[in-house]
Amino acid sequence: MTGRLLEVDKLIVEYPAGGFGRKQPFRALNGVSLDIRPGETVGLVGESGSGKTTLGRAVLGLAPVTGGAIRYNGRDISQLSRSKRRELSSEIQVVFQDPYTSLNPALTIEQILTEPLTIRKVAKAEATSRVRELLDQVRLPADAGSRLPREFSGGQRQRIAIARALALDPRLIVCDEPVSALDLSTQARVLALFKEIQERTGVAYLFVSHDLAVVRLLSHRVAVMHRGEIVEWGDGDQVTARPQHPYTRTLFLAAPVPDPVAQAERRAERQRLKAALTTN
């Protein structure tokens, strides 16, 4: 199929129940379908436990897929062996939520950034110049390479994580809550960086977040997840400004807006919606 970089088709992910006995496995994703085009950002919104992170991990091959398919460029990648999966590492990359645990504290920034390059057998000199290029792309000084992660602030660490994801020129980056651990002004700068990189390199993002405002800012299309299923899926402005599904509307109204007058109205509207839902 042309124009589809990634296609998730009726995906089911189940985690085996712990302990003895025949307990029901926990179904984290229940028949989820969506697609991502090249150069596109698909936002994935939901509350904790909705399965949004699991979907991202399934695309990365880090979650057990029990049903359905994930097609990358038309090829099913949901059941690949580890060695086949490794070949995909230059195509699909990741930026995690917590910039404090996603970088090994014992390695220097240069060691972290060259890690994906060394397995590609890139020559040392070439790798060093690539590191400088990557640091420049994420607006960090060139001498950052010789330092350790602990010398950087949260926002700077997240830039390093972005640089690592970019090292192999991937076509899709799964961003799992990449700005939710950051301060407001840092968050704005990192989001702008995401956008700028996309406009320059044409990489596609699967952007997972609980923050509707952040998703709206960055996403071309948005999927709303609730209890392991996608309840609403469509163009970003449609889903985030004129949501159809009651759950999306609840979610949308629950986020307080930074305007006391508007927020008072929203609060009243949310309470009306809640009352309507409980009486029905």
Binding site: G3, R37, E40, T41, E47, G61, L62, S83, R85, R86, E87, S89, S90, V94, F96, Q97, D98, Y100, T101, S102, L103, N104, A106, E115, P116, I119, R139, P141, R147, E151, Q156, R159, A161, R164, A167, L184, S185, A188, R189, D211, L212, A213, R216, L217, R221, D235, G236, D237, A241, T250, A254, A255, P256, V257, P258, D259, P260, V261, Q263, R267
Partner: protein, 598 residues
């Protein structure tokens, strides 16, 4: 959101990376140097024993039985007329070789099994830990005695078996370290980067295992030497060659005629074991000091010495009719932390704010702005090292900045209540919700058990918990985060407080739960006519709940006033920049434009 320019970020110059090896730092530690030097000398003495020893260790001279120290024999001669010093020196090599063998065997089995079970888990982990428990349950000496009966008096055979017996020690340590690091996101990131398991283990996992394994090896080597000596002392070792344990046995038989002879092998065994143990400790100190730096909690990160010039706080005009009873008056509060060098690092400076009865005062700022420190200072619950350096805190006629600890204990809970950020970590997992709710009610209000229970159930119902008796009997892990926060709010208002201090009360919650908790706080505040100090970083929460807001930056308040006025007309450049950074009123990005969709 306006486009934010992206200049290269300056990285605060901390220091050249501390790559100075552990070894070099070990040399600066007196314990490390002494123990290491002793061990090196011992090894050298063992290797060069044939050169150093003044006599043939096996040459017995009937004339010199139990010869006194000095003269021909420096340390004297033993019960068979052997030179003690020579035998001590000759015994070093087999002793150390045995210990090294035991440790190597243990490490080879234990580290390998620990790596596999920690990294892959599943059935192997179960089986391995079962075997480890079994080995640990076996009495070591008995097994060694039985083995000797089968394989004969072989030092290396015994030490190999001993190595197997102590392998669980390595297994446990390595397994714990690996399964901990396995959860780290950087291991996932390495997998996504396409690293093979072998590479991930050698690059990310072994570095974590290395330190504890080395420390353990040093300690186990000491134990192995002691066990060796024990076997030899019992006469179960190889009798054909000199050993420390064997010498101890010989000296023991002559303890009345030549008691001094007991000293030399004892010293050799004791000092070697001690040196190994101390080396292990010194290594641990050095590795733990710098190996993995402790992650600093964001909230605690104090800004570098506050050096902003004293600029006037931008104060918005009061709205007429907002003059309630002034419940809390903070004047020029400064909070500082004592530094090791004797100076005081100020994290909050010149903070003045007022909370009136029936009013919600929002304290907003980014991490490290000092907002939480201010809240903790008002409750006098600053972390160790922190104290109020200057200013007054007047709460209903009491100066909280100078009040006695006893006075504070009486006020906290009863008149000043607190709602924390992390609901789960503020409930004790080993007590039921009901127990944790009724205890403070009984203490603060002095009521009986039944009455406290009735009040707690009533409160649980009031905060919107669907089935109060069930939650009352539940343990914290049985309820959700949102429910836990409701329970804590119920606890906070249980004694009808005048002032409620809420530190990011909804940050850990989902947006829909957050909206409900904010509704609850608003209702309770109106019902109890409390003054509320709300610490948050979320402008939406402030807009929703607060009547008044103060914006903090780098330990100071830069702008304060009624919420509507500040939000409609932010004046301080910092406040403006924060408003600009809010993604809330951003435009949707719109669908992707491609050639197919013109």
């Amino acid at each position: 959101m306006t486009a934010v320019p992206l200049p290269p970020e300056a990285v605060p110059g901390v220091s050249a990376v501390e790559h100075a090896g552990v070894f070099r730092r070990l040399l600066k530690d007196p314990t490390g140097v002494v123990s290491l030097a002793f061990l090196v000398l011992t090894v050298l003495a063992g290797v060069f024993a044939p050169v150093l020893a003044p006599h043939d260790p096996d040459k017995a001279s009937a004339a010199d039985i139990l010869a006194k120290p000095g003269g021909r024999y420096l340390l004297g001669a033993d019960g068979s007329g052997h030179d003690i010093l020579s035998r001590l020196l000759y015994a070093i090599r087999p002793t150390l070789e045995g210990a090294v063998l035991a440790v190597l065997v243990a490490a080879a089995i234990g580290v390998t099994a620990g790596l596999i079970s920690g990294y892959y888990g599943r059935w192997f982990a179960g089986a391995a830990s079962w075997v480890a428990s079994l080995l640990m349950a076996l009495p070591g000496i008995v097994v060694l005695l039985a083995a000797r009966a089968v394989i004969g008096p072989s030092l290396f055979g015994a030490m190999t078996i001993f190595g197997i017996l102590i392998a669980p020690a390595f297994y446990r340590v390595v397994h714990a370290a690996v399964s901990g690091v396995r959860q780290e996101l950087y291991v996932d990131a390495a997998r996504v980067s396409g690293l093979s398991d072998a590479r991930i283990i050698s690059r990310h996992i072994l570095t974590v295992v290395r330190a504890p394994a080395i420390i353990l090896a040093a300690n186990l080597a000491g134990i192995a030497i002691a066990i060796e000596a024990g076997l030899d002392f019992l006469g179960l070792g190889d009798l054909s060659r000199p050993t420390w344990g064997g010498m101890l046995n010989d000296a023991f038989t002559n303890i009345y005629s030549a008691p001094l002879q007991l000293l030399w092998p004892s010293l050799a065994i004791g000092l070697t074991c001690m040196a190994l143990a101390l080396l292990g400790n010194a290594l641990r100190d050095e590795l733990e000091r710098s190996g993995t730096p402790k992650r600093r909690r964001r909230a605690k990160r104090a800004p570098a010495t506050v050096s902003v010039q004293r600029e006037p706080v931008i104060t918005h005009d009061e709205i007429a009719g907002s003059a309630g009873e002034e419940l809390l008056l903070v004047r020029e509060l400064a909070v500082g932390y004592d530094q090791p060098n004797g100076s005081v690092q100020t994290v909050v400076e010149d903070v003045s704010l007022t909370v009136r009865r029936g009013e919600v005062h929002g304290l907003i700022g980014e991490s490290g702005s000092g907002k939480t420190q201010t809240a903790f200072a008002i409750m006098r619950l600053l972390p160790p090292g922190g104290r109020i350096v200057a200013g007054d805190i007047n709460f209903a006629g009491v100066d909280l900045a100078r009040g006695s600890e006893k006075e504070m204990t009486r006020l906290r809970g009863a008149r000043i209540a607190y709602v924390p950020q992390e609901p789960m970590s503020n409930l004790d997992p080993s007590f039921t919700i009901g127990h944790q709710l009724t205890e403070p009610i009984r203490v603060s209000l002095g009521v009986g058990r039944a009455e406290a229970r009735a009040r707690a159930l009533q409160l649980l119902e009031r905060v919107g918990i669907p089935d109060p008796p069930r939650t009352f009997a539940a343990y914290p892990h049985q309820i959700s985060g949102g429910m836990a926060q409701r329970v804590l709010i119920a606890g906070a208002v249980s004694c009808n407080p005048d002032l409620l201090i809420a530190d990011e009360p909804t940050t850990a919650l989902d947006v829909t739960v957050q909206a409900e908790v904010l509704d609850l706080l608003r209702d309770l505040q109106a019902e109890f006519q409390m003054g509320v100090l709300l610490v948050t970083h979320n402008f939406g929460v402030v807009a929703d709940l607060c009547d008044r807001v103060s914006v903090m930056r780098a330990g100071r308040i830069v702008e304060t006033g009624p919420v509507r006025s500040v939000f409609a007309d932010p004046r301080h450049p910092y406040t403006k920049s924060l408003f600009d950074a809010i993604p809330e009123d951003s435009q949707p990005r719109g669908p992707l434009l491609t050639k197919e969709t013109p």
